[in-house]
């Protein structure tokens, strides 16, 4: 690093270059828009879920507050403001009071890296012009966007864990221990399947991922979405792991009513409960947005007429609502998994599958690049797969056999 670089870093690089009122205005405007968008989307998601689930169960659902009951969430929120805030007598007071923030803030921050629009049509790089400045329709585009997603979902585990532990009560503790084991298990699978997208697009920034996925793909008709270029399996793994990460049905063992009352937030009341509730639904919206960004090309899409950025926002929300519908559909149709089934799925199916798929994708790409013999590469891959599969089966069988032996000895 030369002297010039050192001078630049020392001289507060945040303010070097042009900083005028327009730059600051754009940042503040983006913060405001993202904030409002996220809160409104969350509110509507709660309503959407209740209405849709009741439709699927032949009920009417909320229909009193506002047209079609659309203000029901707002009414519930206002009610929670008027509820007494109880502190359980055995609670660890400070941790109990602050744990909701650890759930709420990461849920909020995740949305910062989601591209919600931009001029991606006809080879555009997604920039739009506001106040005469070129910018992205995305709050921030840190160069390690996808790692930021994984980091924030890791921090959310702390919120759940500390909330359950600090309540000083048995059900919340059991709920939080279950939740943290579940979340860390599926986070590994989630990270490994997101890696397939990184491998295909060659970037960690969410904006660049969308740029890579824009434009025509195979045969000029199919979109260049990562769901197709990674051959679908990482997408399926990511959706399963994402659902488990959100603790949503069929992976909602964390709040299995029959066993754990309400899970980690049993002892919470009033607005602290509302923070957990908001965080949960915000995470649902954001996770759907992450599915869209990583695998379905985010806001990229054709713009037949008019400004491309308006179309892109439309495409983004159409894709988003598909995933929100999927989550509600899961809840209405799928029965909850048992805990051993959950762990089995996570560790013995999803993690090996995503690791193997990653290697396969790498091998396919290098085969195409280097003109290797496809038959030879395929044979080596198949042999390796069979060896690992046999090893895993053997280990499983041996573990089961020894378990039976143990049981005979103890009885």
């Amino acid at each position: 690093m030369s002297a010039a670089t050192a001078v630049v870093i020392a001289g507060d690089p945040l303010l070097s270059g042009e900083v005028d009122l327009a730059t600051i205005g754009i940042v503040l405007l983006k913060v405001l828009v993202t904030f409002v968008l996220l809160l409104v989307a969350t509110m509507l998601m709660v309503w959407f879920e209740r209405k849709l689930v009741s439709d699927m169960q032949n009920r009417i659902g909320p229909n009193r507050a506002g047209p079609f009951g659309i203000l029901q969430t707002l009414a519930d929120g206002i009610k929670l403001f008027f509820k007494e805030n109880l502190m359980p007598e055995r609670a660890e007071r400070r941790v109990y009071a602050l744990a909701p923030f650890l759930s709420f803030v990461p849920a909020f921050l995740l949305f910062a890296i989601i591209p919600i629009g931009g001029n991606f049509a006809d080879g555009g790089d997604g920039t739009v012009t506001i106040f005469g400045k070129e910018t992205y329709l995305q709050l921030a585009d840190p160069p390690i966007g996808i790692l930021f997603v994984l980091a924030m979902s890791s921090i959310a585990v702390y919120g759940v864990m500390l909330a359950g532990w600090s309540s000083g009560s048995k059900y919340p503790l059991l709920g939080s221990v279950r939740a943290s084991a579940q979340m860390v298990s599926y986070e590994a699978a989630m990270g490994l399947s997101a890696m397939a997208v990184v491998l295909v697009t060659g970037t960690l920034s969410t904006h660049n991922m969308v740029v890579e996925q824009a434009g025509p793909g195979l045969w000029g008709i199919l979109p260049n979405w990562a769901i197709l270029t990674t051959l679908a399996v990482p997408f399926v793994i990511f959706v399963i792991a994402g659902t488990a990460e959100l603790n949503r049905p069929p992976f909602d063992l964390v709040e299995a009513e029959q066993e754990l009352v309400a899970g980690f937030n049993t002892e919470y009341s009033s607005i602290r409960f509302a923070l957990f509730f908001l965080a949960e639904f915000m995470n649902t919206v954001t996770m759907s947005a992450i599915f869209v960004t990583l695998f379905l090309g985010g806001p990229a899409g054709p713009a037949p007429w008019g400004p491309a950025w308006v179309w892109s926002i439309g495409w983004f929300f159409v894709k988003l609502v598909c995933f929100l519908f999927m989550f509600v559909w899961f809840r209405a149709t799928l029965p909850r998994l048992r805990y051993d089934q959950l762990m089995h799925l996570g560790w013995k199916v999803l993690i090996p599958a995503s690791l193997g798929w990653l290697l396969m994708l790498g091998a396919i790409r290098l085969t195409l690049d280097n003109d290797w013999n496809p038959a030879l590469v395929g044979t080596i891959g198949l042999v390796l797969f069979l060896v690992f599969w046999a090893l895993l089966r053997g280990a499983n069988a041996s573990a089961a056999a020894r378990r039976e032996l143990d049981e005979e000895l103890t009885v």
């Binding site: 010039a4 070097s16 008027f82 990270g191 090996p352």
Partner: protein, 151 residues
């Protein structure tokens, strides 16, 4: 974005450094995180404002006594709690957490390779194959040791 930053470092390191240009790129890089920091502030502020409004609006009954204390007892299906709230849990949960650390550290090593697949080429692929094979063996060992067997 990162490539830009690195090329900017190169540009700044060269003797004919264009100070304004490399400053601009560093600036962009840090401004992204500054925006995230502002948003963090907004998120904390939002939570604080909600708690503040609720603190003004909600009833608060601080009186203590046999009757008022009832509501502060931890919930245990309606009966008085038995023993401590912090019960011991199975060690299995802890083992899963340890295994997670293994796979998370693994992810740290695989991400750079996944990003620069073409540059590492054949060497990278074989290297990663060996790395993942070793980890897979670890997973197989854990299965064999009944660590992943829940029931």
């Amino acid at each position: 974005m990162l490539a830009q930053v690195f090329s900017a470092v190169d540009a700044c390191a060269s003797t004919t450094a264009d100070t304004a240009a490399c400053g601009q790129t560093y600036s962009d890089f840090l401004r992204q995180w500054l925006t995230v920091a502002i948003f963090t502030g907004v998120a904390f502020g939002m939570g604080a404002v909600m708690l503040g409004i609720a603190a003004v609006l909600r009833p608060s009954n601080k009186r203590t006594g046999a009757y008022q204390n009832q509501k502060r007892i931890g919930y245990e299906s309606g009966v008085d709690p038995v023993g401590s709230g912090w019960t011991q849990t199975q060690v299995r949960y802890y083992i899963f957490a340890l295994l997670f650390v293994l796979f998370d550290v693994e992810a740290v090593f695989i991400f750079p390779w996944a990003m620069r697949l073409e540059d590492y080429g054949t060497f990278g692929l074989i290297e990663m194959l060996i790395f993942i094979a070793l980890l897979a063996l670890g997973l197989v060992y854990a299965v064999r040791k009944k660590v992943l067997q829940w029931l």
